[in-house]
Symmetry: C2
Subunit: 462 residues, 2 copies
């Protein structure tokens, strides 16, 4: 006998001595009529053209080879960046809805721009409407955690040769008292000034020298090497950062004495330098994939600390749900779940193309946050596999016999299985402005994916 | 029925319908009477005191924490280094028995010292007996592959706080045309001059600055991190080298312009910088463990390209066998087994304390040489486990659920099982002086271990 669904029925027959094979089956999408109808359409009558679109989305996610081409000032290169623009992570939101760490980071950015001298003055200025608060994603830019970028901020310039488009990300702000962790102290403001007035002048010629001698840096090639060296390229970018720094070494050594040493000290303690670079590469890749119409593949995920939003290829809109807590977490000594702000940052774009949670099984460091054995990290990668349409041909996981990490999150699978992406991430202090309090793995909220599937069905393309 | 030994007998009974459990058992040591007697003694009447000694040897191999404390000129620090001394890897040997790559490396060292101007003149000088050719191991020094050190060579100084002793290793000579790969061209000689006259003057103050700000560098701590990042810390030291370079970054950036940039270019292309450092750490650790009398644990392994030698704790002598070929190998394009020199270098000391072949399962890069799947690398680690008495508490293998790598190669197990250490290594051109032609995994020759076990039994301690 084959028993489909509840094991209970199989047990009843089994108790009578009959051989039974149980098939794990549940009503898809929890039986919600609208969702079941959407699945019926997208897996049924529209299936062939969706599969075709999805294949093209996956091809783009897998084959894009963006390069790091330089550093510039945000106002000079970021499209639509005005003299009073501040870019924030995640979907758009009103200032009154901004969470505490992102609010503090915005204050710090205002002070670093010289628009105000104190957090209070910065708060008043933004609340007055005199600052143009914009989602970075709408300006070809991404920022991890609570990163806020003003017009004077230095940004990495990443080019996508296939699409001809560019994407941008600030220089990673480093550990400790830094605005991207929701800190607004004078020390944190000074970090932004350091990036602009010391790190950028040293890093830009170093990068230039490296590119001149070796050509533009293929960012995903560095990430792929990182995965062979224990990075997931999201929570952990230690190996890829070090590869990048070693490549930059001749140019860094050429920097002039005192300033060079100051920057070297900053770089020597910042193992997330590569994070912002690979995020910008993922952003321009997902933007390219987003241009394919009629697909059910997720090409953007971002959080502002208040809402979690996703974008779907072909649909230029956000589908949002409240930002989740980071469920599987380890906290710094003295902190716990009560101190944790909800999941925040644009970094989840990495999970759309095989990095972060999708590559958890490549990273012993990520495993530390998932029970301390590799099995926990493998489970995160397997969860991503169950909802993905393809596999990366370049991001290989040694622990899984070098199989490619899963790419192309398919809304239909997410809604059917009620399994959502796993995102490796840091955790910020919810209200005290004390910075990072832990790290862990967040589970994306199902509601955003359900809304997106309905959006796909309702779109003119469908 | 329980069938011990040949499966044939079990099969005979099994054919009659009787349940059989086969136990894989073979005559130990191939039935050699002297070896069986030695095993009988060492596993029998002398077992208790050998186990006690072995436990202390393993404790030392596992707990030593040597630090990198600086750079110096060989003649100033290496014990017994005279004005005409050349240090070579492996057990002692006569000049007429020196293999081609080591011979060329010695020529290059003679030329770098200014004792001769051509390889021919260097050859004549050494053959005349006017150069004191000494095994580096007998002078607290180690060198990878065909490294030869003259008195003017810069050496890393490694201190063992537990024993109060020091060990030394030259600066890794880097890729391409370099003497440690058996190249004697003017370019190779220039590499030795570069190390002495540019790399050392830049690296020494950089190391000093790093130590001043962060304390002496705990070498095995860096190696342990490397294992979490895909190093086996022998064939592959990419991650640990990069960690070291990032730690040195502020000091390197402080170096003066042109020379600093030249050195940075060298460091940026040398992913084996850490190899020599961790070898010196292993050397001072194994020297400390060697002071324990009455043990059956191997505390030294080294090859000169002609013979493969091992040392046993408590016995101050070499047990040798002909150097093996590197059995499991990948060759550079255009080269093959016919071009391969036998296994060479002092680096096999790493395999005595949980690194290299013992840690193969930590390294996707090593797996490339063992069939391309992690299973091949795991098999190498498992082979080492089968002949080791303990496990490292600090060198953890993520792929094996963070279990400690095997340490303490026990002669008794090697001789009983006829399984010998697996050593990850490079391969040199046998006769053409063209440098490295491949890399792979060598299997140590059983005869050296058999001779050593007899030596243990015959020693006054036994």
């Amino acid at each position: 006998m084959v028993n489909v669904g509840l094991r209970l029925f199989g047990d009843a027959v089994r108790s009578q001595g009959v051989g039974v094979v149980d098939v794990d089956w549940r009503i898809p999408a929890g039986g919600d009529p609208a969702l079941v109808a959407a699945l019926t359409t997208t897996y049924g009558t529209h299936s062939a053209r969706i599969e075709e679109a999805n294949a093209e989305v996956c091809r783009r996610l897998d084959s894009a080879a963006p390069v790091l081409s330089g550093l510039a000032t945000a106002r000079d290169v970021v499209p639509g960046m005005g003299d009073r623009t501040l870019l924030h992570p995640g979907p758009p939101l009103a200032w009154e809805d901004v969470c505490d760490p992102l609010r503090r980071s915005a204050h710090a950015a205002v002070m670093a721009e010289g628009w105000a001298d104190t957090p209070e003055a910065a708060e008043a200025l933004i609340a007055s409407g005199d600052v143009d608060l914009q989602p970075a994603n709408e300006h070809a830019t991404v920022g991890p955690m609570a990163t806020v970028l003003g017009p004077s901020a230095p940004v990495f310039v990443v080019e996508n040769p296939q699409s001809g488009a560019r994407a941008f990300a600030g220089i990673n702000q480093g550990p400790g008292a830094a605005p991207w962790f929701g800190v607004e102290t004078p020390e944190a403001v000074a970090r932004l000034v350091l990036l602009r007035e010391a790190v950028r002048p040293v890093l830009e010629p170093a990068l230039g020298a490296t590119i001149e001698s070796g050509g533009p840096i293929d960012i995903f090639s560095v990430a792929a090497q990182g995965l062979q060296m224990g990075d997931d390229a999201h929570m952990r970018t230690q190996a890829s950062t070090n590869l990048l720094i070693r490549a930059l070494l001749p140019g860094l050594v050429a920097a002039d004495g005192d300033r060079g040493v100051k920057v070297a000290r900053f770089l020597a303690t910042n193992h997330l330098l590569f994070l912002n670079v690979v995020m910008a590469a993922a952003k321009t890749t997902s933007d390219w994939a987003s241009a394919v119409p009629g697909s059910s593949i997720v090409t953007g995920m971002a959080r502002n600390g208040t809402t979690f939003g996703i974008k779907v290829a072909g649909l230029d809109r956000w589908f949002t749900a409240p930002a989740p807590d980071v469920g599987q977490a380890l906290f710094h000594p003295g902190y716990g779940p009560a101190d944790a702000a909800p999941d925040i940052g644009d970094s989840a774009v990495l999970e759309t193309l095989g990095l972060g949670g999708a590559a958890a099984a490549a990273s012993p460091a990520v495993a530390t946050f998932l029970g301390g054995k590799m099995a926990g990290a493998v489970a995160a990668t397997r969860a991503m596999e169950s909802i993905c349409a393809g596999r990366s041909t370049r991001f290989r996981i040694p622990y899984l016999d070098f199989s490619g990490s899963p790419i192309g999150i398919d809304l239909r699978r997410v809604v059917t299985l009620e399994v959502t992406p796993r995102i490796t991430t840091g955790i910020l202090d919810a209200a005290g402005g004390r910075g990072q309090v832990g790290a862990g793995v967040a589970t994306a909220p199902l509601a955003a994916f359900q809304a997106a599937l309905l959006g796909v069905v309702e779109s003119p393309e469908a």
